[in-house]
């Protein structure tokens, strides 16, 4: 027996999405009508700029790390290949929270010390033009916000590396061979033939990881970066309005991630329609 079209439509309708929209609208109404929620909301959105800037900046840097490491993972150069694999495996083997503490509180100061040391050495050689700048570089100059961005970028760079690697490997060997047979170098074949196709194939996966990063950016609150999570924690701590604070915070994240996920799906559908 054929299902009637109405029943089919009802079964296909995204009820989950409707539920989420209703939750968001209900919360918006409560925020509007109740003073305690209203106060929590107005506090929390003060951190929205930091959350967005941190996510965008960290993701931009992570794209560069990921592309380099992804190409390293498939490189036939033993040194590059091992360096890239070491990076990916180190990041994958350490909990993200621990890694963020480590990079922000140990990694960054160590690099700064290294740069200072190099600056002193250059000064002793008389190259004060470069050395002077390098010795003036201090830990205080790097805010926790900047360190949080570095930490997230390093972490997500390793995830994106695996996406790029898979994307590059999904392009058939015939493409490289055709490019090489025309006289292109390995680098030219990668740049003009392989990467444009690979990146197109992994755009949805890259988008999904951006959504994941927006969520994981909440971890930087533990570095006292005043993102929405940190601002919310401070508000809840000082007013003891836990329910108001965390309902508002959760719905705020949900709104951002669901909207972004829908954008990614839209992109995916358009790419499939124009698939070539």
């Amino acid at each position: 027996m054929r299902k009637d079209p109405m029943a089919k439509r009802l079964a296909k309708f995204p009820w989950w999405l409707l539920t989420m929209v209703l939750i968001a609208l209900w919360t918006a109404y409560i925020i509007y009508s109740r003073g305690n929620y209203n106060e929590a909301f107005r506090r929390i959105i003060q951190g929205l700029g930091t959350t967005i800037v941190t996510s965008l900046a960290a993701y931009g840097v992570a794209l560069i790390f990921g592309l380099l490491a992804g190409m390293g993972r498939i490189s036939r150069n033993v040194v590059l290949n091992n360096l890239a694999t070491l990076y990916v495996e180190l990041v994958r083997g350490i909990p993200m929270l621990v890694l963020i503490f480590f990079i922000a509180l140990v990694g960054v100061p160590t690099v700064v010390d290294g740069v200072n040391g190099l600056g002193n050495w250059l000064n002793s050689l008389g190259l004060t033009a470069i050395g002077g700048v390098m010795t003036k570089f201090t830990n205080q100059a790097l805010s926790m916000n900047a360190r949080a961005i570095v930490a997230l970028a390093v972490t997500y760079g390793a995830f994106l590396a695996e996406i790029f690697r898979a994307g590059i490997q999904s392009i058939g060997r015939g493409q490289t061979e055709a490019a090489r047979s025309l006289g292109m170098s390995t680098g030219q074949a990668m740049r003009y033939v392989i990467l444009p196709q690979a990146i197109r194939n992994v755009l949805p996966a890259l988008g999904n990881d951006f959504v994941a990063m927006v969520k994981d950016s909440s971890l930087v609150s533990l570095l006292a970066v005043r993102d929405i999570t940190q601002v919310a924690r401070l508000h809840a701590g000082s007013t003891f309005r836990y329910r108001e604070t965390y309902v508002t915070l959760s719905v705020l994240y949900l709104t951002m991630t669901v909207a972004l996920s829908l954008l990614v799906q839209l992109l995916e559908r358009r790419l499939r329609r124009h698939a070539r």
């Binding site: 015939g174 493409q175 055709a178 047979s181 025309l182 006289g183 292109m184 003009y192 033939v193 196709q197």
Partner: protein, 248 residues
């Protein structure tokens, strides 16, 4: 004195334990058309792919136009630009239009200006008979059209040699003709060609010599007339009876 543009000396190629080529020696004169035939696994494609070093030979020498190939990447890139190659599965770049497929290597390898590259590309697309498809993407073309674009893409580099690796094997029967016609035109224009193919009509019409390979060795090196009328070796007779049975 013969003007040999390709010289292969005692070429061996092993893939692990598999010996694909077991000592091939071969010369191709400038402007000649050599057709390579043989059963699958006989090493025909490997030989072709060794000539432009898409496969690195295990041992032996390859000389192209008086220069011995080394594994130096710069030298190889320069020599590959002089050797066009056409693949069984076309291998067009799917993210680029037909015109961009034909101009890309001209731009990045030959460093031609955009106008010059486009002009050359349109000439070559006319040469293979599909200038009207310049703006199309490869997926919008039939197999025969894709293969003709692939030929135009190789020709746009002004190669001295063209290698064809089973150019019609992946095509529907009604499209084989259009590709063979283009290849025949090229042969008549004096292009040096090495063609791995079992298209006996093309062999009869265009080949100056025919090489039969088996087990990584050259079994017979002869002319088309002799091949069809008086094959010397038993292996050749057996192979011909098998493929002619299907094509006649």
């Amino acid at each position: 004195m013969p003007d040999n543009i390709i010289t292969v000396k005692n070429l061996h190629k092993h893939f692990g334990d598999v010996r694909a080529l077991n000592g091939i020696s071969l010369t191709v004169e400038r402007g000649k058309v050599v057709v390579v035939i043989g059963p699958s696994g006989s090493g025909k494609s490997t030989l072709l792919r060794c000539i432009n070093h898409l496969e690195t030979p295990t041992s032996g020498e390859i000389w192209i136009d008086g220069k011995r190939l080394t594994t130096n990447p710069k030298q190889l890139n320069a020599i590959r630009a002089e050797i066009g190659m056409v693949f069984q599965l076309f291998n067009l770049f799917p993210h680029l239009t037909v015109l961009e497929n034909v101009t890309l290597a001209q731009r990045v390898v030959r460093k031609r200006s955009l106008e010059e590259a486009r002009e050359v590309a349109m000439q070559q697309l006319e040469h293979v008979g599909i200038p009207e498809k310049a703006g199309a993407y490869p997926e919008q073309l039939s197999g025969g059209q894709q293969q003709r674009v692939a030929i135009a893409r190789a020709l746009a580099m002004n190669p001295k040699i063209m290698l064809f690796d089973e150019p019609t094997s992946a095509l529907d029967p009604e499209m084989i003709r259009e590709v063979l016609d283009v290849m025949l035109t090229l042969a008549r224009e004096g292009m040096t060609m090495v063609v791995v193919s079992h298209e006996m009509g093309f062999t009869r019409a265009a080949a100056d010599s025919v090489i039969l390979m088996d087990g990584g060795l050259i079994v017979e090196d002869t002319t088309p007339e002799e091949l069809f009328n008086a094959p010397k070796h038993e292996r050749t007779k057996l192979f011909l009876s098998q493929i002619l049975h299907h094509t006649s």
